[in-house]
Amino acid sequence: MTIPPIDAELALAEIRIRREQVVGANLVPAWFWVAIGGLMVMFVAAVESARPVFVAVGSVVYALGLAGLILAVVRRGRVQVRPSLIGARGALAIAGFTLVLVAAGVGLGLLLEAAGAGWPATIGCVPVAIGLAAGGPLLMSYLRRVMLSRPLAGSR
């Protein structure tokens, strides 16, 4: 069977649009990164306070908050993107993003502690939280470009 070229092009456009829908449904929203950053700073501050009541409350709030955030994102997703769309480039970007933030947070915390500053871990966490809030959406934007740049079919 042959079809007019314009129909073939429209069919290809439909395929691209449907893939964009799946990719879009899988991206973590910006509010998630801000919320994770806020929870993390709150939790570290609670632990660093060394006051049992703050540690207990902070731990419970962190655990419930994290569970709630993950649940909200999972329920919002409703579909799992094919991992091959993310590929090695996407996986490396995720790993690099994580490593940079962890290294920055731990490094700054240790430096502050060595310098005798108060609340070193909490202060060290602040740039990490800012990095999450600012970098998370950028990472999602990059992953979106990576996934949409894959061939429509065949290269899996």
Binding site: T2, A13, R18, P83, G154
Partner: protein, 109 residues
């Protein structure tokens, strides 16, 4: 991969469904229904057609007490979809239409 136009996939509703499934591991029945805009029965009919062709697998499970139906593209379905996409691209390329292969679309259809 050999380009092979596939009439079964090319039907508009099935093209939408297979395109969604090609980008996923598993897709929830409700997700497909809501995204493509079909009734439960219309979606079931299309999925049965694709299942009979060996293009999709359907899994029914319970999450708690709720039944959940998930759908995935089988390897045969993936191969047929890839061959169909290649056939579409060949048709477009032969015609000389300006096409940027495999780039994200911004609003056609």
């Amino acid at each position: 991969m050999t380009a092979q136009f596939d009439d079964l996939i090319h039907a508009p509703t099935r093209l939408s469904l297979v395109s969604l499934l090609a980008a996923t591991d598993w897709a929830d029945f409700k997700y497909l229904r809501d995204t493509v805009g079909l009734s439960d029965s219309a979606l079931s009919k299309q999925l049965t057609t694709l299942e009979e062709a060996g293009y999709v697998g359907i899994r029914k499970a319970f999450v708690g007490k709720r039944p959940r139906t998930s759908v995935r593209l089988t390897p045969a379905g993936q191969a047929a979809f890839a061959a169909h996409v290649a056939a579409l691209q060949e048709i477009v390329a032969r015609s000389g239409l300006t096409v940027v292969p495999d780039q994200p679309a911004t609003g056609l259809l």
